[in-house]
Symmetry: C2
């Protein structure tokens, strides 16, 4: 395809111009459905949102539209597959939303969207119904204007993202053939601070464990026994202290073996981010930021692996004191991982290390609580470059590049399970209060984002499928 | 006095023989009063026990008998002070008892004493109404038989021992003149395992603190911030690990400076104790006992200082996982101290050490929760020797010598506040289930103990006051 056809990507403007009111009405209708996936009493609302969306897809020109059963809330699928020879894209979003409580902190009813200051305010107005609507409207505009899309598009919208995507992976595995593609575009990330257009290059992986230390078979009187018996809390403290140094360096053997260094191009991009370290520090109420030597704060919190105790408990924690040697002590510990670290390997190394350093007189167990793979699409991947070009063309500024320090399991689902490069192209203002009361979406981001997506399909449509399938 | 008079200490036998039934009835009447000091609904019972006891003292020949107001439950005091030139002893016990619950585990009503297998079974039958009665009956027997005591005796029985002795120290301080003496005898300790007669030489002191570590001003998402911010749990683990090594050695500077070495005589006595280390170990359900190098298990748990975390908490401890860097983490830590360690000095050193080793990025506070002085009366103190002689003469075996690893605040009250050597001469079987359902007292211990006390007064009466007032 690529060079053969030249398309003016602004050809969709007349259609978009003519349909602004209808577009807003559709978006508001969709947001009005209280599709809270975590609350059983909203199960029917989740299905209503899926049904509503499937009708929207059909009306917009998608084909093979289905509401797919997953065992939980359904997924909505639709495609348009007539661009022979052009790349195939899976675009992902989710129609479910977070619970609305605490209700008393909302300035307007969470499922009665209101417009104010060019914002739509409601639960789900941003996360993630805005992006789902943007994808539908962009495809619709292209189909209505040209009668075709510049590539093959498979739109997949799930209904359990806010409650853990419990059924997504098995549905993806069962539909590998249906989901064959060259690249995945996940639209569920944020712009950078100040609502500056940005592309997220990747997310960190995750390994969550619980460390259980047991000592005597009951709590012992610390007077009668203290000095003669190993104390599980002391043992746990020794273990945790041996996992990570005060300088932020992880002391688990081979922990860093598979870590891919941050590329010079990406280090430069991260260094270019408008990040006020002192403001960041004081916003957290700490005197000093600490972390792995040789890396900047932004690198430490997004592009380098780390380990944190997330919780600890054992013995007496009431008012006053109780002089016991407790029978047991416990900690929850999680590692954030980066490419090419694998949670299963890190679990093995962590467990071996913990067992090796556990002092005599206590027993230890390391239990996995959860894991997720890291994901990174290189800054110079053709799909990344095309996304950046699209954003610059529509928003008027080149996007910033960042990594998210957190973990987005669906990224690994597409990256690892389906073997696709993943572009994280979202349009949410970073202060949109997703998951909080008074969630809002910037309508300029919404409108411009629709143009960005349409233009991105044009950009990707110019590439050959094999150009995209480079390892990410 | 000493050499001038020779008394046959068995002269009390006819009186004791003739009064056995009356003695048991009195003991049972006393135990029948549910004087639970910790429960407000039993306040009147505590006062009833004090009044009952004061009448018993008067009837037994004590003088200056008073029920003294403390602001809490009253103390009962009586004396006999006509042994000019002889030493003056304060004997201490308590009339209050532990709560009886869980009631369903009692085989008979806790305040309806029953006799079975030469045991009296009831709440308080042992702890500590038995010893209080033994003191009254021993003095009564001497007074009835001889018309006088061989020394000056001040009997002090408090009513708040089981609820923390909150008002005792201030009452002692306000009555320093009344309480002038040469030695204190506290009868609230146990015989050794197997009900073998034993003398407790001392108790450990105590310092209880809470360590509060604070980091960011709120829980942070460990994905978004992990790697860039110090983690309070990790910091607390580093602090706890730096307080004590896996070998049981405390790493607080100057911690051991004031520790008095265990004397060779006492080491030999401790080594002679019938102590099966393997049975002890397996009774705790641990694979191995650990502790300070160079000391035996018995020494470690009674005659050497130590440090234990008694509780720890911070962050998320529910089911599953929550990926946060918590804003704070806390631990309760206590030190058991031995002569001549002082809790105030150890608090200072511990606090300084913790502040010195706290890693950057967090704040730390060390708050005292409580303290108690250690106490030790040397194995070769004249009052110890006299006590051992009395026990051997009545029970037929030389007592074992041990130290209690726990802390008995009243020991320090007499030792430090009143400046007296303290002899811990109790008669409780170690498995008497004090504080538990079905508490019992061995009536052979009760009867023989009365003879031991009478004989002990004879033994002490032969000494000059100045012989007793050696530093302990």
């Amino acid at each position: 395809m690529s060079d053969a056809v030249t398309i003016d990507p602004t050809d969709v403007e007349p259609f978009l111009d003519a349909n602004r009111t209808r577009r807003m009405a559709s978006y508001i209708d969709f947001v009005r459905i209280p599709s809270v996936s975590a609350l059983p009493e909203h199960a029917a609302d989740c299905r209503a949102a899926a049904d509503w969306l499937s009708r929207d897809l059909v009306a917009s020109g998608f084909e093979h539209v289905t509401v797919g059963e997953t065992g939980g809330h359904p997924v909505v699928y639709g495609d348009w597959l007539h661009a022979d020879g052009a790349p195939t894209v899976i675009a992902y979003g989710h129609y479910d939303v977070q619970p609305a409580d605490p209700l008393e902190l909302w300035e307007s009813p969470p499922f009665d969207p209101i417009l104010r200051d060019n914002r739509l305010i409601a639960r789900g107005a941003e996360d993630n119904k805005s992006c789902v609507q943007m994808h539908v409207r962009a495809a619709e505009a292209l189909l209505q204007t040209r009668g075709r899309l510049p590539l093959n598009l498979k739109l997949l919208v799930e209904g359990e993202e806010e409650s853990g995507s419990a059924h997504l992976d098995s549905w993806l595995e069962a539909h590998r053939d249906l989901l064959r593609a060259d690249v995945a575009v996940i639209s569920d990330t944020d712009f950078f601070e100040g609502n500056r257009p940005a592309l997220c290059l990747g997310v960190r992986g995750l390994l969550q464990v619980q460390i259980d230390v047991t000592g005597p078979d009951r709590d012992l009187h610390s007077g009668a026994y203290g000095g003669a018996v190993a104390n599980p809390i002391q043992a746990l403290a020794a273990i945790l202290d041996a996992l990570k140094g005060a300088d932020g360096r992880i002391h688990i053997p081979r922990f860093y073996d598979d870590v891919v260094d941050i590329s010079p191009a990406e280090r430069a991009a991260l260094a270019d981010l408008p990040f006020d370290e002192d403001e960041f520090r004081s916003s957290l109420g700490v005197d000093v930021l600490t972390g792995e030597p040789g890396y900047t704060t932004l690198e430490r919190k997004t592009a380098r692996p780390t380990l944190d105790a997330n919780g600890i408990w054992g013995g007496f924690s009431g008012v006053g004191s109780k002089t016991i040697i407790p029978a047991e002590a416990h900690a929850k510990v999680s590692c954030r991982l980066v490419p090419e670290q694998r949670p299963d390997r890190i679990l093995q190394e962590l467990g071996d290390h913990v067992r090796r350093i556990t002092p005599p007189g206590v027993h230890v167990e390391v239990i996995e609580l959860g894991s997720g793979l890291p994901s990174l699409t290189p800054i110079d991947h053709p799909a990344t470059i095309a996304a950046a070009r699209s954003i610059e063309a529509t928003f008027g500024v080149a996007p910033l590049f960042y990594r998210a320090g957190g973990s987005v399991p669906v990224t690994a689902s597409f990256g690892d399970l389906l073997g696709l490069p993943v572009v994280l192209m979202g349009f949410a203002p970073p202060d949109s209060q997703a998951h909080s009361p008074n969630e809002w979406m910037d309508l300029a981001n919404f409108e411009t984002g629709i143009r960005t997506i349409a233009r991105y399909w044009d950009e990707l449509g110019r590439l050959r499928p094999e150009d995209l399938r480079v390892p990410s």
